[in-house]
């Protein structure tokens, strides 16, 4: 049912293939980009329009147990933002945590066609895949939380490093994940087992398992790189949100040495100053380190003013944030695997810290020396909704707009940053990199983020406009795997999207040791734990890199 297409007269931005706003013809056949005109192709005249690959979100929270808890928690947020159905689409609710259908369709209305759920407990993988199946249009995958996994920590404690590697691979296979996610590694045990304490130093030795966050990080960096997963370990560092956490962040990156690693929402980890006091910007230090270390990629986790929902596996952080307003709060412990905290939140211009966070995010973008390794994200919905991406793009592309916005914020906080002095404006080509080509490369998705022959025909066509927020808010055409989804700003079709996951080979003998731990300490049967293929529906196994695999 996919149509053959010929897109003419558009200004094409395809950084991966070195095309920067030149007029090119693009041919689509059977859901892929092809280099010759296919039979009976329908022609789309993109004159006066900008053609880009579909957007790729490398870090968001859109599906799974914690997301659904946050949805249930906030009827007041949904009520103000209903999402009506159309001839081709299901209805839903919006707000900071939209329903699954609304999530897929709203990504499409921004021209995004791929998104990765960034934190899923292994035991919640089945639930997550059910929700992703109900998240239309986009291709999607998820990162599995293993950084606080009790069995894996016991293996490290016992120095059984090889079994650790095999167990990690087993877990990735059993959950159909895309890569491993570490969140506040080593922080769960003090939270659950020591009356809501936390770990606050990367070298602090855990009393129960006798290992440090650094040792956990090192083990995962080594393992995932050895297996050659297309995306390296995705790390949410210790001390998120705390003044002075820049040290922890730098140490985390140093632990990786020259091995590949991705740092999540790095804005939240770029704070100077003393713990417990007001933070300062450490964006320059972080940008400097990232710029000079090509093995590192990161996403920013920009804060956008307005309503947000904090949802994180970093339970102590959520509890700390809950302390400010003493409002609704969710804590959700997952046996042997993870913690979770959820707090409805709002970033306000007049608040010193909120302005500082906003400014640090923008500093990181504007100080970046290599757009390929810094990805646009708001850590949706933690820093703000993905629906605010167009405004964020305008902040980066439009210096005058940025200066107007600066007038509204806390000036004391603003003055403590370099932001007022940064004149840089992102070009459309750079935007195409930080929203498409860059994240696709960081994810190792060879068929995404570009428009060369063989690529998935995920294409967005925008009317070129002065106001970049308007422009990126309303693509004229969105094409997913060759299917016309949005035409003249209206939904004309639907698409189920597919699951992206990896399947590194591992040594079967590891299963017995996992099983024996499992039978003692989990509350469901080991044989009912691994996710079966029927939960994948349409899916793609993304191959491991050359030299990977064991």
């Amino acid at each position: 049912m996919t149509t053959a297409l010929r897109i003419i007269n558009g200004k094409v931005y395809d950084p991966a293939n070195g095309i920067d706003g030149e007029s090119r013809e693009i041919f689509v056949d059977n859901g892929r980009i092809v280099d010759t005109l296919p039979e009976g192709a329908r022609t789309i005249d993109a004159g006066g329009m900008v053609v880009m690959p579909g957007g790729v979100d490398i870090h968001c929270h859109i599906a799974g147990p914690k997301v659904n808890l946050a949805r249930k928690l906030q009827p007041e947020d949904h009520r103000r933002d209903p999402h009506p159905g159309t001839l081709h689409t299901r209805s839903g609710s919006g707000g900071t945590v939209p329903s699954t259908f609304a999530t897929g369709y709203r990504y499409a209305t921004l021209g995004y066609t791929t998104a990765m759920e960034a934190a899923v407990t292994p035991i919640g993988a089945r639930h997550t895949l059910e929700e992703l199946h109900d998240t239309p249009v986009i291709d999607k995958g998820f990162y599995v939380l293993l950084g606080n996994n009790i069995f894996l920590q016991q293996l490290l404690q016992a120095g059984r490093r090889e079994e650790f590697k095999q167990a990690v691979a087993w877990w990735i296979n059993s959950t159909k994940a895309y890569t491993t996610k570490l969140v506040n590694p080593g922080g769960d045990e003090p939270w659950k087992g020591k009356r809501n304490k936390n770990v606050d130093d990367i070298d602090e030795r855990n009393e129960v398992f006798g290992i440090t966050p650094r040792e956990i990080i090192d083990a995962f960096v080594e393992t995932v790189n050895e297996f050659g997963l297309p995306h390296p370990p995705h790390i949410h560092c210790n001390n998120l949100g705390h003044s002075g956490n820049v040290k922890t962040t730098l140490e985390t990156m140093k632990t990786a040495g020259d091995r590949r690693v991705h740092l999540a929402h790095i804005q939240f980890h770029s704070y100077g100053g003393e713990r417990g006091k007001n933070p300062k910007s450490a964006a320059a230090e972080i940008a400097e380190y990232v710029n000079t270390h090509p093995n590192i990629s990161c996403d920013v986790g920009q804060v956008m003013f307005g309503k947000s929902t904090i949802m994180t596996a970093d339970a102590p952080l959520a509890y700390m944030l809950r302390g400010f307003k003493k409002g609704k709060w969710i804590n959700a412990d997952t046996e042997c695997e993870s913690g979770c905290g959820i707090v409805p939140f709002a970033y306000q211009e007049h608040v010193y810290v909120h302005t500082l966070q906003w400014a640090i995010g923008l500093e990181l973008f504007l100080l970046s020396g290599d757009p390929w390794r810094i990805v646009l994200s708001t850590d949706h919905p933690n820093g703000g909704s993905f629906m605010s991406y167009p405004k964020l793009i305008r902040l980066l592309m439009d210096r005058e707009f940025r200066k107007e916005e600066m007038k509204k914020v806390n000036q004391k906080a603003l003055r403590s940053t370099q932001l007022p002095d940064l004149e840089r404006e992102y070009t459309l080509n750079e935007i195409a990199i930080i929203t498409r080509a860059g994240p696709a490369r960081a994810l190792g998705l060879k068929n995404k983020g570009h428009l060369g022959a063989g690529a998935d025909a995920d294409i967005t066509i925008y009317d070129e406009q002065q106001d970049k927020e308007m422009m990126f808010n309303a693509p004229r055409y969105v094409i997913k795997s060759g299917d016309m989804i949005i035409e003249n700003h209206e939904f004309v079709g639907d698409h189920a999207g597919r699951i992206l996951h990896v399947a590194p080979e591992y040594d079967e003998t590891i299963v017995d040791s996992v099983r024996s731990f499992f039978e003692n300490y989990y509350s469901i049967e080991f044989d009912n734990y691994a996710v079966t293929d029927n939960y994948l529906h349409d899916h793609e196994v993304v191959p491991v890199l050359k030299g990977g695999g064991s």
Binding site: A63, V67, N68, R71, K72, L73, Q74, P75, H78, R79, P82, H83, P84, G85, T86, L87, H88, T89, R90, S91, G92, S93, V97, P98, S99, T100, F101, G124, R126, H127, E130, E131, H133, D134, K192, G193, R195, N196, Y319, K328, W329, I330, N331, A332, D333, T334, E335, C336, I342, D494, A496, N520, Y521, S523, I524, E525, D527, N528, T532, Y535
Partner: protein
């Protein structure tokens, strides 16, 4: 269960799941007589589970579908059901707690497409706890955390010994775990109930508030946790002595991992969501001192799955209305006891549930006045008054699919033997397909046509 007259042709299904109650135990070992199509042994099952497996046999003689009590083909019944739903101005869908998530997804799709109203048995079970959750939040956990860590377990307003017989052994009382190697020896168990139920036997401490005074007791405990003074007559008014309260608060503040399980003794009594809310707030307050969690002990096998599916598809857990082409949530308005008792509903699709036998009188009377479509594995008061009824196979026994345990852990079921009767999902898919055809055919007139009609996605 006796194994006499079991024929040679048996098969054993391991790691099967019992969906009778919210414990959703997935360690069943079922011995199935494939000739007689019945389960002759259910190892590890409790008394409720054994009955669940033993009694769900195949009644071949029964028709697959009926219209006005007369046997008919499934196809005709689907057509009749679709016509009823298509013509209705306020069609309600209800039930779903004894059905798979796959079927629940079809049910929500139908309500979305026909701009109807959907609600689940949650609204008359822990719906008030859902409301409380939306006001306060919840510190909670998966049941394995209780097994591994809990050193103080409090059951409030529930009788798990009779309603969830394996809750004690598998998860919360005698279960041995990582930091609780000695099981019950490592724990203190408290039961709070207005009746001295069989569950009291498992408790180290039993507190018996006066009926209807749970809120006052919870409120008094919150006050003590916050270091406030209580009036001297607190025992007179609540039935629980100040000493007993102070002792409990002391234990709660000083445990390492405390758990509050609660039942319908809170949600079904005067105070409803505020009773649940008081308990959730108490657990939240206690996190200032130690790690404390709470969890409603859910009833039916997949009622938790229904909450999850309805939430991820609409944004709201139950009591959802699509009249205007998008979901709206309002318990007391869009919940089923209300839509029936007020006479709002003009058609009803009831899935794996029996409101005609356990709803308030006034609701049952209205149900008898409107066209009802009922899906169930056996005859019930609801199927008896239905205009269209489908006899379905039993989830978990005859059909696979996903169910959620009371702690939101999803489990994939392993059916034991095939049934000649279709599953809920199959019938609901057919109804969904048909109502959508009818609505497309009707074109831009009639029911909310201008706002456009949702089309089913290819899945």
């Amino acid at each position: 269960m006796s194994e006499e007259n079991s024929s040679a042709n048996t098969r054993v299904v391991e790691n099967a799941t019992c969906t009778f109650c919210g414990c959703v135990c997935d360690d069943m070992i079922l011995t199935v007589d494939m000739d007689q199509k019945k389960i002759i042994k259910a190892k590890n099952a409790c008394v409720l589970g054994r009955a669940w497996f033993a009694e769900h046999t195949i009644e071949e003689d029964q028709p697959k579908a009926k219209i006005n009590g007369r046997p008919t083909s499934v196809e005709d019944a689907v057509e009749e059901a679709a016509q009823i739903l298509f013509k209705a101005r306020f069609p309600i869908t209800y039930g779903l707690s004894d059905s798979t998530c796959e079927a629940q997804r079809q049910a929500v799709a139908i309500s979305d497409i026909i701009h109807g109203n959907i609600d689940t048995t949650t609204s008359v079970c822990h719906g008030p706890s859902g409301l409380a959750f939306q006001g306060i939040g919840e510190s909670t956990m998966t049941l394995g955390e209780v097994k591994n860590r809990a050193d103080l377990v409090i059951y409030w307003g529930g009788n798990p010994a009779e309603s969830h017989p394996r809750h004690f052994g598998r998860y919360a009382v005698t279960a041995k775990g990582l930091f609780t190697p000695n099981g019950k020896k490592d724990r203190t168990i408290v039961l709070v109930d207005v009746r001295k139920t069989p569950s009291a036997g498992a408790a180290n401490i039993f507190l018996q508030p006066k009926p209807g005074k749970d809120f006052e007791v919870l409120w008094a405990l919150r006050a003590l946790v916050k270091g406030r003074k209580l009036p001297a007559d607190i025992e007179e008014s609540t039935g629980v002595s100040l000493e007993a309260m102070e002792d409990l608060v002391d234990r709660m503040k000083n445990c390492n991992y405390g758990v509050l399980f609660f039942g319908m003794g809170l949600t079904m009594t005067r105070g409803r969501h505020f009773n649940s809310g008081a308990l959730l707030a108490l657990a939240t307050d206690l996190n200032e001192y130690t790690h404390f969690v709470a969890k409603p002990v859910r009833g039916h096998g997949n009622v938790t799955g229904a909450d999850n599916v309805v939430s991820w598809q609409t944004g709201y857990p139950f009591g959802v209305n699509f009249s205007r082409g998008f979901p709206r949530f309002n318990p007391g308005e869009f919940t089923t006891v209300d839509t029936l008792s007020r006479g709002d509903a003009d058609a009803a699709l009831i899935i794996a549930s029996d409101p005609a036998s356990n709803f308030p009188k006034q609701a049952i009377e209205h149900l008898a006045r409107i066209p009802v479509i009922a899906l169930d594995t056996k005859d019930t008061a609801t199927t008896s008054l239905a205009k269209v009824s489908f006899r379905t196979s039993t989830y978990g026994i005859n059909t696979g699919g996903t169910v959620y345990r009371m702690d939101d852990v999803p489990i994939s079921m392993r059916p034991a033997f095939e049934s000649p009767f279709p599953g809920d999902e199959e019938i609901l898919r057919a109804i969904r397909k048909r109502v959508h055809e009818l609505i497309i055919a009707r074109g831009p007139h009639g029911a909310a046509a201008e706002s456009k009609v949702a089309a089913p996605r290819k899945d």
